[in-house]
Symmetry: C2
């Protein structure tokens, strides 16, 4: 998946995304760490302009500079849509940035992060300490087990929000993109509860998004909404999350709550939340909305 173009001045880490025939690269100064875990290969690079860069199996996971876009959009739209999310589960999310954003919400009483590969979190603690600053919040619990099994065994009607912050639908994450997994999530959620999942690029992965949305409906969710947002480090630089609700719809959100939020963000605000609900013409057409 990865290529290392040469340059006179510096090295570059480049991820060639074969499916879309495009690539994104970062100029690097140093390979800080590389290891093969039982699940995947993880690399940490020092870049010249993007801070630290984490790469898993040749795919860019996050950089210090632009992860705020992804982490804020994976959390705040869902948490300001739910009336009062007390119990949150994050599937994946090993870099802990999603956990940190979730715990900015006072209404959250418990947040369980279920990451299959403990090494992702240990390396995040070392190289992205700012993302891990809420790992010791008394409301946080970090489990290093299989998220698919965890959701299959979760107590019915026990959760308010499930966030699926995973890698692409290949390798260990493949089972997170099908109706069986969504059915586990649906069962574990209370009425009015929300599922939100990273759903790849609106431009390059439209068919995958359509099949995710369809599988979510098959699993019993009554409303589905895809929110696009910019994400420079992922293929096409344009990403999305897809939200699904158990009972009720997804037409509104707690706009006053979002406008009066008592914590800082770098991308998200109430206006941006509304903006992310707007569907480009080609998505409208593809989704029949």
């Amino acid at each position: 998946m990865s290529q290392q173009p040469t340059s006179n001045e510096a090295s570059w880490f480049t991820e060639a995304h074969q499916a879309s025939g495009s690539s994104i690269g970062f100029r690097t100064e140093q390979l800080l760490h590389a290891e093969k875990t039982p699940f995947q290969t993880i690399e940490i690079h020092q870049t010249t302009d993007w801070g630290k860069l984490m790469v898993i199996d040749g795919c860019v996971m996050l950089t210090t500079r632009d992860n705020f876009l992804y982490h804020e959009m994976m959390t705040h739209p869902a948490l300001f849509t739910h009336a009062r999310a007390k119990r949150v589960v994050i599937i994946g999310g090993g870099d802990c940035g999603t956990l940190r954003e979730v715990l900015k919400h006072e209404e959250v009483e418990s947040a369980v992060q279920v990451e299959i590969d403990e090494r992702v979190t240990r390396l995040a603690e070392q190289y992205f300490p700012e993302l891990c600053e809420s790992n010791h919040d008394p409301r946080a619990e970090l489990l290093f087990i299989d998220g698919i099994k965890y959701m299959a065994e979760a107590e019915p009607d026990s959760l308010d929000l499930v966030i699926v912050d995973s890698t692409d639908p290949v390798g260990p994450a493949e089972g997170l993109f099908n109706a069986a997994f969504y059915a586990s999530c649906h069962k574990a959620l209370r009425h009015g509860g929300l599922l939100v999942q990273q759903s790849e690029s609106p431009l390059a992965h439209l068919e995958l998004i359509k099949s995710m949305r369809s599988a979510m409906r098959t699993a019993g969710f009554s409303a589905v909404k895809t929110l696009p947002f910019p994400q420079p480090c992922y293929p096409t630089g344009w990403w999305s999350c897809t939200m699904a609700r158990k009972g009720g719809d997804l037409s509104g959100f707690r706009e006053r709550g979002a406008s009066a939020k008592n914590f800082p963000t770098k991308y998200y605000n109430a206006e941006i939340h509304k903006a992310a609900l707007a569907q480009p013409e080609f998505m409208r057409e593809a989704f029949g909305e």
Copy 2:
């Protein structure tokens, strides 16, 4: 600026953006054309997944697949903000995609495209014919002269909309990003008229955007607004245009007109227009909005 990483299967055209330490590349099948004009070097590549790719001086200008994002956002927000734009001038825009979008508006009575390098347009006619389909519209006029001089000599109070669809602020386009040029535009516009200019990446070029906005105000524009949009082929995959108004404000637009538009688009619609007016938290802070 450009690098050609090697691969077993195919070639890649990669633009390494030195200022942001990031790169974007496309898998190519064939170099279709390369020439040095009096102004710049132009290449046309056939890509595997993005159609044709035009490169000027090593920088990606457009691809068949994603140019709709840029061309629609450079035109429709401005045209649905102006009450009735009759006379439009496009500075640059040699690929003719902006001209095509402008001429979708029935209220436009004349659209003059002022491109310094005729070869850009001739190559667009050959390799991007779909973008040039309105070049022979009786309302269109194509001039191949210096846009800075054209605007300096334009009749005062004669235009409704000036669109600056240029390359980056280096080389021939450098003079399009300063207060002297904006003063020419301001003088040539009627009261209520609009200037809209491509304004680079919100993440990588925030200081440039701030200085453009400030120069527009110095030139006499009474309101300025920056609209972000996704653009996979440009650095960071996230781009923007900045709109300025001579007299009046930029708080609203003709939302009913946009909702009832009688022409097709792939990205733009009334909801997307509203969404583009939302400012991410870090932009709000940078602009003091």
